[in-house]
Protein backbone atom coordinates (compact mmCIF):
# COMPACT_ATOMS: atom_id res chain seq x y z
CA UNK A 1 0.00 0.00 0.00
CA UNK A 2 1.35 3.42 -0.97
CA UNK A 3 0.34 5.97 1.60
CA UNK A 4 1.12 9.57 2.40
CA UNK A 5 0.75 11.74 5.47
CA UNK A 6 0.14 15.48 5.09
CA UNK A 7 2.06 17.88 7.29
CA UNK A 8 0.98 21.46 8.04
CA UNK A 9 2.69 23.92 10.37
CA UNK A 10 1.34 22.75 13.72
CA UNK A 11 0.54 19.14 12.79
CA UNK A 12 1.74 17.00 15.69
CA UNK A 13 0.37 13.48 15.17
CA UNK A 14 2.14 12.94 11.83
CA UNK A 15 5.01 10.97 13.36
CA UNK A 16 2.69 8.58 15.24
CA UNK A 17 0.54 7.74 12.22
CA UNK A 18 3.68 7.27 10.09
CA UNK A 19 5.02 4.77 12.65
CA UNK A 20 1.63 3.01 12.78
CA UNK A 21 1.28 2.75 8.99
CA UNK A 22 4.85 1.47 8.68
CA UNK A 23 4.15 -1.15 11.33
CA UNK A 24 1.10 -2.35 9.38
CA UNK A 25 2.21 -2.08 5.76
CA UNK A 26 5.97 -2.49 6.07
CA UNK A 27 6.42 0.66 3.98
CA UNK A 28 7.13 4.12 5.31
CA UNK A 29 4.45 6.58 4.10
CA UNK A 30 5.64 9.61 2.19
CA UNK A 31 5.54 12.96 3.99
CA UNK A 32 3.50 15.59 2.17
CA UNK A 33 4.28 19.20 3.10
CA UNK A 34 1.27 21.50 2.78
CA UNK A 35 2.90 23.51 -0.01
CA UNK A 36 3.64 20.40 -2.11
CA UNK A 37 1.56 20.21 -5.23
CA UNK A 38 3.07 17.10 -6.77
CA UNK A 39 3.15 13.62 -5.37
CA UNK A 40 2.81 10.09 -6.75
CA UNK A 41 -0.51 8.27 -6.93
CA UNK A 42 -1.32 6.91 -3.50
CA UNK A 43 -3.82 4.42 -2.08
CA UNK A 44 -4.30 6.35 1.14
CA UNK A 45 -3.69 9.89 2.32
CA UNK A 46 -3.87 10.57 6.04
CA UNK A 47 -4.43 14.09 7.35
CA UNK A 48 -3.15 13.78 10.91
CA UNK A 49 -4.10 15.50 14.13
CA UNK A 50 -2.54 18.57 15.63
CA UNK A 51 -3.11 22.30 15.64
CA UNK A 52 -2.54 23.32 12.04
CA UNK A 53 -1.79 27.05 11.77
CA UNK A 54 -2.31 27.35 15.52
CA UNK A 55 -6.07 26.83 15.13
CA UNK A 56 -6.20 30.47 13.99
CA UNK A 57 -9.57 31.75 12.69
CA UNK A 58 -11.27 28.35 13.05
CA UNK A 59 -9.72 24.89 13.54
CA UNK A 60 -8.58 23.65 10.14
CA UNK A 61 -9.74 26.77 8.27
CA UNK A 62 -6.33 27.91 7.06
CA UNK A 63 -5.04 24.39 6.36
CA UNK A 64 -8.14 23.75 4.24
CA UNK A 65 -7.04 26.56 1.91
CA UNK A 66 -3.44 25.27 1.53
CA UNK A 67 -2.06 24.36 -1.92
CA UNK A 68 -2.05 20.61 -1.11
CA UNK A 69 -5.85 20.52 -0.69
CA UNK A 70 -6.38 20.78 -4.45
CA UNK A 71 -4.27 17.65 -4.91
CA UNK A 72 -6.16 15.86 -2.16
CA UNK A 73 -9.42 16.70 -3.96
CA UNK A 74 -7.96 15.30 -7.21
CA UNK A 75 -6.91 12.15 -5.34
CA UNK A 76 -10.49 11.81 -4.03
CA UNK A 77 -12.01 12.32 -7.48
CA UNK A 78 -9.79 9.47 -8.72
CA UNK A 79 -11.40 7.28 -6.03
CA UNK A 80 -8.50 7.52 -3.58
CA UNK A 81 -9.01 7.01 0.15
CA UNK A 82 -8.48 9.76 2.70
CA UNK A 83 -8.46 9.46 6.48
CA UNK A 84 -8.73 12.66 8.51
CA UNK A 85 -7.99 12.25 12.19
CA UNK A 86 -8.99 14.94 14.72
CA UNK A 87 -7.57 18.17 13.21
CA UNK A 88 -7.58 16.22 9.93
CA UNK A 89 -11.35 15.77 10.30
CA UNK A 90 -11.69 19.51 10.98
CA UNK A 91 -9.66 20.25 7.83
CA UNK A 92 -11.81 17.92 5.69
CA UNK A 93 -14.94 19.73 6.89
CA UNK A 94 -13.42 23.19 6.34
CA UNK A 95 -12.37 22.13 2.83
CA UNK A 96 -15.97 21.17 2.07
CA UNK A 97 -15.00 17.52 1.53
CA UNK A 98 -17.15 16.35 4.45
CA UNK A 99 -20.34 18.09 5.61
CA UNK A 100 -21.35 19.59 8.95
CA UNK A 101 -19.25 21.48 11.43
CA UNK A 102 -17.02 20.75 14.43
CA UNK A 103 -17.64 23.26 17.20
CA UNK A 104 -16.35 23.78 20.76
CA UNK A 105 -16.85 20.87 23.13
CA UNK A 106 -20.11 21.27 24.99
CA UNK A 107 -18.39 21.58 28.38
CA UNK A 108 -15.65 23.92 27.11
CA UNK A 109 -12.99 21.43 28.16
CA UNK A 110 -10.10 20.06 26.18
CA UNK A 111 -10.90 16.36 26.49
CA UNK A 112 -8.11 13.81 26.44
CA UNK A 113 -9.28 10.33 27.38
CA UNK A 114 -10.33 6.95 26.11
CA UNK A 115 -13.67 6.54 24.38
CA UNK A 116 -15.62 3.55 23.17
CA UNK A 117 -16.70 3.65 19.55
CA UNK A 118 -19.48 1.52 18.14
CA UNK A 119 -19.28 0.61 14.46
CA UNK A 120 -22.46 1.78 12.76
CA UNK A 121 -24.51 0.20 10.01
CA UNK A 122 -22.54 1.94 7.30
CA UNK A 123 -22.18 1.86 3.56
CA UNK A 124 -19.36 -0.09 1.91
CA UNK A 125 -16.12 1.63 2.86
CA UNK A 126 -12.49 0.50 3.01
CA UNK A 127 -12.39 1.90 6.55
CA UNK A 128 -15.30 -0.10 7.92
CA UNK A 129 -15.99 -3.11 5.74
CA UNK A 130 -13.45 -5.19 7.69
CA UNK A 131 -15.28 -4.53 10.95
CA UNK A 132 -18.69 -5.70 12.15
CA UNK A 133 -21.68 -3.52 12.83
CA UNK A 134 -22.07 -3.10 16.58
CA UNK A 135 -18.42 -3.96 17.25
CA UNK A 136 -16.69 -1.78 19.85
CA UNK A 137 -13.30 -0.12 19.52
CA UNK A 138 -11.42 1.50 22.41
CA UNK A 139 -9.72 4.52 20.91
CA UNK A 140 -8.76 7.73 22.74
CA UNK A 141 -9.75 11.29 21.87
CA UNK A 142 -7.85 14.53 22.52
CA UNK A 143 -9.54 17.70 21.33
CA UNK A 144 -11.24 20.98 22.16
CA UNK A 145 -13.43 21.34 19.04
CA UNK A 146 -14.83 17.90 18.31
CA UNK A 147 -18.50 18.56 18.84
CA UNK A 148 -20.02 17.47 15.53
CA UNK A 149 -22.88 19.80 14.69
CA UNK A 150 -25.29 19.41 11.79
CA UNK A 151 -28.88 20.28 10.85
CA UNK A 152 -31.60 17.66 11.35
CA UNK A 153 -31.79 17.33 7.57
CA UNK A 154 -28.09 16.55 7.28
CA UNK A 155 -28.17 14.17 10.25
CA UNK A 156 -31.02 12.21 8.63
CA UNK A 157 -29.20 12.20 5.30
CA UNK A 158 -26.01 10.86 6.90
CA UNK A 159 -27.96 8.13 8.67
CA UNK A 160 -30.04 7.11 5.65
CA UNK A 161 -26.99 6.99 3.39
CA UNK A 162 -25.01 4.90 5.90
CA UNK A 163 -22.42 7.61 6.29
CA UNK A 164 -22.17 7.59 10.08
CA UNK A 165 -19.06 5.52 10.78
CA UNK A 166 -18.76 5.55 14.57
CA UNK A 167 -20.73 6.69 17.57
CA UNK A 168 -19.50 7.13 21.13
CA UNK A 169 -21.20 4.58 23.37
CA UNK A 170 -21.49 3.93 27.05
CA UNK A 171 -19.58 1.09 28.63
CA UNK A 172 -21.60 -1.01 31.06
CA UNK A 173 -21.44 0.31 34.65
CA UNK A 174 -19.78 3.57 33.76
CA UNK A 175 -20.84 7.16 34.15
CA UNK A 176 -23.13 8.87 31.66
CA UNK A 177 -20.31 11.01 30.37
CA UNK A 178 -19.51 8.70 27.49
CA UNK A 179 -19.77 11.36 24.77
CA UNK A 180 -16.61 13.47 25.24
CA UNK A 181 -17.79 16.57 23.36
CA UNK A 182 -21.60 16.70 23.12
CA UNK A 183 -21.70 15.83 19.40
CA UNK A 184 -25.10 15.48 17.68
CA UNK A 185 -26.36 11.89 17.96
CA UNK A 186 -23.03 10.91 19.61
CA UNK A 187 -21.32 10.98 16.22
CA UNK A 188 -17.55 10.36 16.31
CA UNK A 189 -16.83 9.91 12.60
CA UNK A 190 -18.51 10.27 9.21
CA UNK A 191 -17.95 9.13 5.63
CA UNK A 192 -18.08 10.91 2.28
CA UNK A 193 -20.79 10.02 -0.24
CA UNK A 194 -18.53 7.42 -1.90
CA UNK A 195 -17.36 5.97 1.44
CA UNK A 196 -13.70 6.58 0.57
CA UNK A 197 -13.16 9.56 2.87
CA UNK A 198 -13.44 9.13 6.63
CA UNK A 199 -13.22 11.92 9.18
CA UNK A 200 -12.96 10.89 12.81
CA UNK A 201 -12.19 12.69 16.07
CA UNK A 202 -10.60 9.71 17.91
CA UNK A 203 -6.91 8.91 17.37
CA UNK A 204 -6.33 5.32 16.15
CA UNK A 205 -2.57 6.00 16.02
CA UNK A 206 -2.65 6.35 19.81
CA UNK A 207 -3.90 2.79 20.30
CA UNK A 208 -1.23 0.73 18.51
CA UNK A 209 0.88 -0.92 21.22
CA UNK A 210 -0.13 -2.44 24.55
CA UNK A 211 1.86 0.32 26.20
CA UNK A 212 -0.73 2.75 24.80
CA UNK A 213 -3.36 0.99 26.88
CA UNK A 214 -4.90 -0.88 23.96
CA UNK A 215 -4.41 -1.95 20.37
CA UNK A 216 -7.82 -1.26 18.80
CA UNK A 217 -6.34 1.50 16.66
CA UNK A 218 -3.96 -1.06 15.18
CA UNK A 219 -6.94 -3.36 14.53
CA UNK A 220 -8.85 -0.55 12.78
CA UNK A 221 -5.88 0.54 10.65
CA UNK A 222 -4.94 -3.08 9.81
CA UNK A 223 -8.47 -3.84 8.59
CA UNK A 224 -8.39 -0.65 6.50
CA UNK A 225 -5.01 -1.69 5.05
CA UNK A 226 -6.39 -5.17 4.15
CA UNK A 227 -9.38 -3.62 2.34
CA UNK A 228 -7.24 -1.08 0.51
CA UNK A 229 -4.81 -3.65 -0.87
CA UNK A 230 -7.88 -5.90 -1.37
Amino acid sequence: MRSGVTIFPGSNCDRDIIVALKEISGKTPIKMWHKDTEFPNLDLIVIPGGFSFGDYLRCGALAARSPIIKNIKNHISRGGAVLGICNGFQILIEAGILPGSLIRNEKLLFTCRKTILEIQDSMISPFLSGLKKGQYLNIPVAHNEGNFFASETLLNELKNEGRIAFKYVKEANTDDDYNPNGSCNDIAGILSKNGKVLGMMPHPERAIYNLHGGTDGLKFLSKTFEKLIG
Binding site: L57, R58, E94, G100, S101, R104, E106, F149, G182
Partner: protein, 81 residues
Protein backbone atom coordinates in the same frame (compact mmCIF):
# COMPACT_ATOMS: atom_id res chain seq x y z
CA UNK B 1 -10.61 52.81 4.51
CA UNK B 2 -11.26 50.29 7.24
CA UNK B 3 -13.84 47.56 6.82
CA UNK B 4 -15.03 45.70 9.89
CA UNK B 5 -16.48 42.20 9.72
CA UNK B 6 -18.48 41.03 12.72
CA UNK B 7 -18.96 37.27 12.83
CA UNK B 8 -21.44 35.58 15.12
CA UNK B 9 -22.91 32.13 15.55
CA UNK B 10 -26.26 31.51 13.87
CA UNK B 11 -29.40 31.21 15.97
CA UNK B 12 -29.72 27.69 17.32
CA UNK B 13 -26.00 26.93 17.21
CA UNK B 14 -24.73 26.02 20.65
CA UNK B 15 -22.43 28.69 22.08
CA UNK B 16 -20.89 27.10 25.18
CA UNK B 17 -18.56 30.07 25.66
CA UNK B 18 -21.56 32.42 25.70
CA UNK B 19 -23.30 30.17 28.22
CA UNK B 20 -20.23 30.12 30.47
CA UNK B 21 -20.01 33.92 30.33
CA UNK B 22 -23.72 34.18 31.12
CA UNK B 23 -23.34 31.97 34.20
CA UNK B 24 -20.37 34.01 35.38
CA UNK B 25 -22.24 37.30 34.91
CA UNK B 26 -25.19 35.90 36.89
CA UNK B 27 -22.80 34.84 39.64
CA UNK B 28 -21.58 38.46 39.81
CA UNK B 29 -25.16 39.57 40.43
CA UNK B 30 -26.02 40.99 36.99
CA UNK B 31 -29.70 40.63 36.20
CA UNK B 32 -32.27 41.17 33.44
CA UNK B 33 -30.23 39.76 30.59
CA UNK B 34 -30.12 36.44 28.75
CA UNK B 35 -28.87 34.64 25.62
CA UNK B 36 -25.24 35.74 25.78
CA UNK B 37 -23.58 35.04 22.44
CA UNK B 38 -19.94 35.41 21.46
CA UNK B 39 -18.37 36.25 18.13
CA UNK B 40 -15.29 37.66 16.51
CA UNK B 41 -14.29 40.79 14.69
CA UNK B 42 -11.95 41.09 11.73
CA UNK B 43 -10.69 44.50 10.59
CA UNK B 44 -9.37 45.03 7.07
CA UNK B 45 -7.62 48.08 5.70
CA UNK B 46 -8.28 48.82 2.01
CA UNK B 47 -6.38 51.25 -0.16
CA UNK B 48 -6.85 52.53 -3.70
CA UNK B 49 -10.36 51.13 -4.17
CA UNK B 50 -13.77 52.65 -3.53
CA UNK B 51 -16.27 51.63 -0.89
CA UNK B 52 -18.38 49.39 -3.11
CA UNK B 53 -15.35 47.50 -4.37
CA UNK B 54 -14.10 47.08 -0.80
CA UNK B 55 -17.46 45.70 0.34
CA UNK B 56 -17.60 43.28 -2.59
CA UNK B 57 -14.05 42.09 -1.90
CA UNK B 58 -14.83 41.65 1.80
CA UNK B 59 -17.97 39.68 1.00
CA UNK B 60 -15.93 37.30 -1.16
CA UNK B 61 -13.34 36.95 1.63
CA UNK B 62 -16.12 36.09 4.07
CA UNK B 63 -17.57 33.41 1.81
CA UNK B 64 -14.17 31.94 0.87
CA UNK B 65 -12.43 31.91 4.24
CA UNK B 66 -13.41 34.26 7.04
CA UNK B 67 -16.82 32.78 7.86
CA UNK B 68 -18.02 29.21 8.24
CA UNK B 69 -21.44 29.81 6.74
CA UNK B 70 -22.71 26.48 8.09
CA UNK B 71 -22.74 27.83 11.62
CA UNK B 72 -21.86 31.53 11.40
CA UNK B 73 -23.35 34.74 10.03
CA UNK B 74 -21.56 38.03 9.38
CA UNK B 75 -22.11 41.75 9.02
CA UNK B 76 -19.86 44.10 7.10
CA UNK B 77 -19.44 47.72 8.22
CA UNK B 78 -17.33 50.41 6.62
CA UNK B 79 -15.57 52.81 9.00
CA UNK B 80 -15.53 56.27 7.48
CA UNK B 81 -12.31 58.24 8.08
Amino acid sequence: MKVVVNISLKEGVLDPEGQAIETSLSNLGFKNFSDVRTGKQIILNFEKIDENEAILATKKMCEDLLVNTVIETYKINVLKD
